[in-house]
Symmetry: C2
Subunit: 822 residues, 2 copies
């Protein structure tokens, strides 16, 4: 897969002066190109005196972090070339975009990728102009940047992404630069612990480089303002062996000496990694003290020391665009010109504007170039999963409601086979909840990967130094690891509590934006979808209550571009299987699947489930009471497993109490089907919508989440004025399932009341039935208050065609006996 | 405020046996009451042999963390009483709810708060039954629990909350228990660094206690499975002096000895804290190495070692409800009975069920009881802010659009005076963005509080050991600190980037739920609102682009209970002032205020602004072209500053090009006014809505955020069928403001096109104007592609009544010259 297979030690000899000079020239060239991108519209080689017109009218971007990033890139080039070490570069401070674009240009990748950005003066002009310019490229290390898997727009995920890339890539080195601002974020602060989840033989190596340039936008950084002793202790505490480097502060130290010191340290670090790898190859996969580098250099290094009398380089003032008013005065223009000239561009590029080949020679070639490494364009490496036939895992459904399953447990059986067939490119991520979410069958074929200490087997169940399940109690880590894993061409899923998946709302945002942008970048190949399984959902938080209730992640997801998001609410086990098979085959989506983990009736046979999932939504004729070729009196629709159950229980009542009423039952698996075909590729046309929901009959819609989402998805539909949605509202805590459902008017009795209230000819005639439904609710509520569990007639209700089952032991033993595991 | 004022050293003498016995009895009583709450429906004093009917039918809750929490509470009681040290207890593992309820019951607070839970057998029965029972109390340390400011439903914020409580509470000790599961979360991992932001003289003390019981739901914890050396290094790296305690593993050690060791260590820790406080009182406020405790005890300590042959105590199996099937077999019932009996209840409670007074005597009295400390019911201590008259800070608006301001900069002047008048109960929190968000005027009267190292003043601007501004690059920290500060009776605001405020979506959820629940708890007094200022908003991410764009926090907020959320979109500086005055006076809300930081025209005088904000929305007659007593042909509405500008620019075109057209201009400040009066207390009635928006005229609505929110808020309105919303869509990056607006069809030209398209008699007659608008957009777009800035005629547009200004230097110098500071 990668172009190298060994972890080589260095030559062991000192680095010669010519190489050091080459490194310095590369660094100067990268810095020059970075400054050029931020400031210049023209005159890219400084062939003429700098004028106001050469400078961009609006100066945008970030200089401060860039020279440090360029320094590291230059040195890594040398080491990679020497060791033929497949390496990618993760840029935590992603606003250092100009630096990564510059480096990709210098090693040739950029011009190979974007043929219009040629290796000559005109190409340089275009390279400069396009940066952070309308119609050009973003200021961050965005999908447009070759070699990037990490935009770094929102800070905090550099190490999570880096480790995600390293898992199952045994020959890969991930050089992960962590900004000292980013290091203050929570997600980054815990991501150091990723090293407890790495297997030195089977996984690649992450080399964290803490870029301690000391300042953020307007403040010093915490880690720069604690003692070296404390910082060393922190890194040792995180499980690392820190190597401290400081450069650029001592004005008397020749730059060649700075390069010599860093190159030697980098060799030492890489040799130590090679030694760890060698030990792992010999079978010692216990957790080593992985090296990391503390890289202390001035913010804005090589820029103007002072601007307008204010300290700039080595301060927060260098963060964004120092000299923001470069065009305004001759003095400022002069400062910029001198700054640019300080890189001695004539030594770097020839008369045509082409880079000196000797500088280019610092970089490795082909796929070994960090900007060209195929790992960072994971779609290239992506292999389809070898999937079993999900139909083989179907649960038996003799009649609708005629059997009971915990749907995710059934999915777990299927995933077991997925894992067996795909031992090195599929992982399950979750915050300590894989078993709680009922996927524990997978432990029949794999373990939870863990490389901290072990104790006795009686407590360390399913824990091993290698395994397909990754559990750490941090949703940020799970999401970040999975994103890194997917972006480098693998597959996976993330199981979490529905309420707490909001913890990664903003990470989801960034990933969805990445997918959206890459859809428009031809050279970026599609990657596997990011699959969520939310099986501890809002309706069953018996152990936890109100703090664990929130179905709003779906709302959040639906705000993103329709082409990248999908939301599924399979009502039972077979539909969940069919849905997940689809998700695991898909590309470039975020798939959100919500499916409760409690025992619940199965309604569809596998054939029916496949058909239902293929349609995404449909009429359940077996449940309704409409006659063929007649319009129904009312439509009862459901999306979600609990709503489906309550709708069917309501229909059961309606069929008994109002046999004359023509009820249509609709079930929605694919929520996006409700949307307008013009707004979402899965959306129904208005005609299709009317066929299913009618244009003018009352629709009582029981929905899993916040009710207004259904209104939002359907507000343009003909039938919208007749649509009445029941869903989750912020109403507080409860501890029995039906109590919760009642609290939200989503219960069977209330749905019957809704039907009476909205079918005009029932309103007058069915006051008695209506009152009985009100009483039934009161009785059910009162029962829970006394007994702490649901009324047996509610709890044990089954669909009438499955009555035989209602008295069987199977139902009694498994339904609603509490125990969602946390 | 608190009942003590000094930090006392301990007696220095060894703890006597009677005290140790009292501690142990308290602990046994608390454990007994905890087990009782989880399992028992009846027989609370074990007066008769335990039967199946005494046990709850559904066993819910969490035992594992509880005995450790009880142990700590007992020991803290002893120390608090001895030192008269005002102390609150923050329970990171909030699922240990039974323990905190038990402790509050033991010290008498619970019965004082809930008169029905009496101190006798019947009270115990009620105490047990109510726990995690329908109509009862939640399983977590919820608002219902006396002494709680931290529910701990979602994990990760224990230390942030603790430090928020400690700021400006110089005499307060916050004992903050951090679960070792919670310690794996990102927010918790960075919150250790809070100690760099504490002033030892002016602030209280947080004593972190890492509860290392070794296991989560189904896994060991990371921090329990690294060496003591690594863990010690980690804590030292975080800036702490760790004290290690281990108890409960050595079966041969008498429990009295365990207590003796812990009590002695606790005294040592508290003496060290007292010494730090004494040094601070002498003027040494430099950062000390604050003590923390590593508290290693078995998970589920004192519970059954093995259940059904499986290791339970000291393992993850003790996490939730061990013996989940306690009712099922005689053997299990026997295990439960023996477990309960092990606490020797007859030694703890008398015949009536009252606690032995000697045990009660362990606890401090009155407000010193941790469950009764008024700090944990902050509304009691809340003082109104002394607010200046915001009108004094008004900007001059000679004519609409006749002056230009950066609205948050004006707000900053006002906040300066707020800070001056409220030096010890108001703080501003933000992730390194207070100046970027244009509130830098506050540095005239205060500084950023910082207690890490200092360097030279030329880089450490506005940095001091005490100050009202708190900046750390972690939205989680800012939110958590502010929440803790508010919950303990103070005021504040949080400034952040609009896109990245999603980072705290789930924290907002938890806080909104807390507010919602406390509204129904009479003894919880209202606290100050949580105020957001989102001034780096979606429409102006010139430096950053697509990754920094997302206006969806508003959507997220609106999902919460209407009674606790407010969203404001002030269109200019004076409306922002009026809005914020209102926010700072309000209680029990989350106020989201979105107001751009770029130079923009002012439209309303202060009197107009006050009237407009009081109404929340209104017709801007000066802008429209409707005649009095006539219905308009079209309504142009705006919510948000950029939309307001574009709507007015569109109206300018319409007034010139179509003088016969009667245009109504509506502006919305308070987004909740759009909602139905039945759904939100701010909502308009349908009649009011029709009066403003008409029932049947086309409405073109320019909105700051995702357009569908406006549909969701108005879908039941008469005029909804005629409503056409323009807002933000996920369309990708751009770097000039107008480019961005065009990309989303929110620009002036497109709004004119919308008017033509929706006013039926214009559709046929104004094809020419329509085409000119299309051309104008193309021209504007083309200009940005060439020049990198907006077309001057677009950039410099001003409202016609303010034409004199358009050529003035003021506009040229400040409008749209780039430079949002990151």
């Amino acid at each position: 897969m990668s172009t190298t297979t060994t972890w080589q030690s260095g030559s062991g000899t000192a680095i010669d002066d010519a190489t050091l000079d080459r490194i310095d020239k590369w660094w100067r060239a990268a810095n020059y190109l970075s400054v050029g991108q931020i400031y210049l519209l023209d005159n890219p080689l400084l062939r003429e005196p700098l004028t106001r017109d050469h400078v961009k009218p609006r100066l945008l971007g970030h200089w401060g972090t860039t020279p440090g990033l360029n320094f590291l890139y230059a040195h890594l080039n040398r080491a990679i070339a020497e060791r033929s070490q497949s390496t990618i570069y993760v840029t935590g401070p992603g606003h250092g975009g100009p630096g990564l674009v510059a480096s990709a240009y210098l090693d040739g990748t950029y011009s190979e990728t974007y043929s219009d950005i040629t290796e000559d003066e005109e190409g340089l002009r275009r390279l400069f102009k396009q940066f952070s310019f309308p119609g050009g490229i973003p200021s961050h290390v965005a999908p447009e940047t070759p070699g990037s898997i990490h935009e770094g727009g929102e800070l905090g995920y550099a190490l999570s992404h880096a480790y995600g890339a390293a898992f199952d890539n045994p020959d890969l080195l991930v050089a992960a630069v962590v900004g000292d601002g980013e290091a203050e974020t929570g997600p980054l602060a815990t991501s150091w612990h990723s090293n407890k989840f790495v297997n030195p033989a089977q996984d690649g190596v992450v080399l964290p480089i803490l870029h301690l340039n000391g300042y953020k936008i307007a403040n010093p950084t915490v880690l720069d303002r604690i003692s070296d002793d404390e910082l060393r202790a922190l890194m040792v505490g995180y499980g690392h062996k820190p190597f401290f480097f400081e450069g650029g502060y001592d004005q008397d130290e020749p730059i060649a000496e700075v390069h010599r010191r860093f190159a030697a340290m980098l060799d030492e670090v890489l040799d130590e990694i090679a030694a760890i790898k060698a030990r792992a190859a010999q079978g010692d996969v216990s957790r080593p003290q992985w090296p990391m580098i503390v890289f202390r250099t001035p913010k804005g290094w090589t820029g103007p020391d002072y601007i307008d009398g204010k300290k700039t380089t080595g301060s927060w003032r260098a963060h964004q665009v120092p000299l923001a008013n470069a065009r305004d005065t001759a003095e400022h223009l002069e400062v910029l010109e001198q700054w640019l000239a300080s890189y001695r561009v004539a030594e770097l590029f020839d008369a045509t504007g082409a880079l000196d080949p000797d500088i280019r020679a610092l970089a490795p070639t082909g796929d070994l170039r960090m900007s060209a490494n195929p790992v960072a364009n994971g779609g290239i490496l992506l292999r389809d999963l070898r999937l079993p036939d999900f139909r083989d895992f179907a649960v038996d459904v003799p009649t609708p409601g005629g059997s009971i399953s915990e749907a995710p447990r059934v999915l777990g059986e299927y995933l077991t086979e997925v894992i067996r067939r795909n031992p090195d490119n599929f992982r399950i991520f979750g915050p300590d909840e894989t078993a709680s979410n009922r996927l524990q069958a997978v432990y029949g074929v794999t373990d939870k990967q863990w490389n901290a200490d072990f104790e006795s087997p009686e407590v360390d169940e399913h824990l091993a130094r290698a395994g397909r399940v990754m559990e750490m109690l941090s949703e940020h880590q799970c999401q970040g690891w999975l994103e890194g894993y997917l972006l480098t061409g693998r597959h996976g899923l993330f199981t979490s509590y529905e309420a707490f998946i909001h913890i990664v709302d903003s990470m989801f945002n960034q990933h969805a934006k990445w997918l959206k942008v890459t859809n428009d970048i031809p050279w970026r190949r599609p990657i596997a979808s990011l699959n969520y399984l939310l099986s501890s959902h809002v309706w069953r938080q018996d152990h936890n209550g109100f703090s664990h209730q929130d179905p709003g992640f779906i709302d959040h997801v639906v705000n993103k571009k329709a082409e990248v998001v999908r939301v599924y609410l399979p009502p039972d086990a077979n539909t969940l299987l069919s849905t997940y098979d689809h998700c695991l085959r898909s590309r470039q989506y975020v798939n959100v699947v919500v499916s409760g983990k409690q025992p619940a009736p199965n309604f569809l046979t596998m054939d029916q489930a496949v058909a239902h999932c293929t349609r995404g939504l449909g009429i359940w004729e077996w449940a309704g009471s409409e006659a063929p070729d007649e319009e129904p009196d009312v439509v009862l629709a459901a999306a979600g497993d609990v709503p489906t159950l309550e709708v069917l229980a309501a229909v059961d009542i309606l069929r008994r109490e109002l046999p004359q009423l023509k009820v249509r039952v609709v079930n929605v698996v694919d929520l996006m089907r409700l949307q307008d075909a013009r707004e979402h590729p899965h959306g129904l046309t208005d005609a299709e919508f009317d066929t299913i929901f009618t244009a003018d009959r009352p629709i009582v819609f029981a929905y899993h989440g916040y009710p207004w989402l259904i209104h939002r998805l359907t507000y343009r539909r003909n039938g919208h004025a007749n649509l009445h949605v029941r869903g989750y509202k912020e109403e507080g805590t409860t501890t029995t399932p039906f109590d919760m459902v009642m609290l939200n008017d989503l219960d069977r009795f209330h749905l019957v009341i809704d039907v009476i209230d909205h079918v005009h000819w029932l309103r007058a005639s069915q006051a008695g039935l209506r009152q009985r439904m009100v009483d039934a609710r009161l009785e059910a509520r009162q029962y829970t208050r006394e007994h702490g569990e649901d009324l047996p007639s509610v709890r044990d209700w089954v669909w009438p065609d499955a009555q035989d089952l209602s008295s069987s032991e199977q139902v009694d033993a498994t339904v609603f006996t509490g125990g969602d595991n946390e």
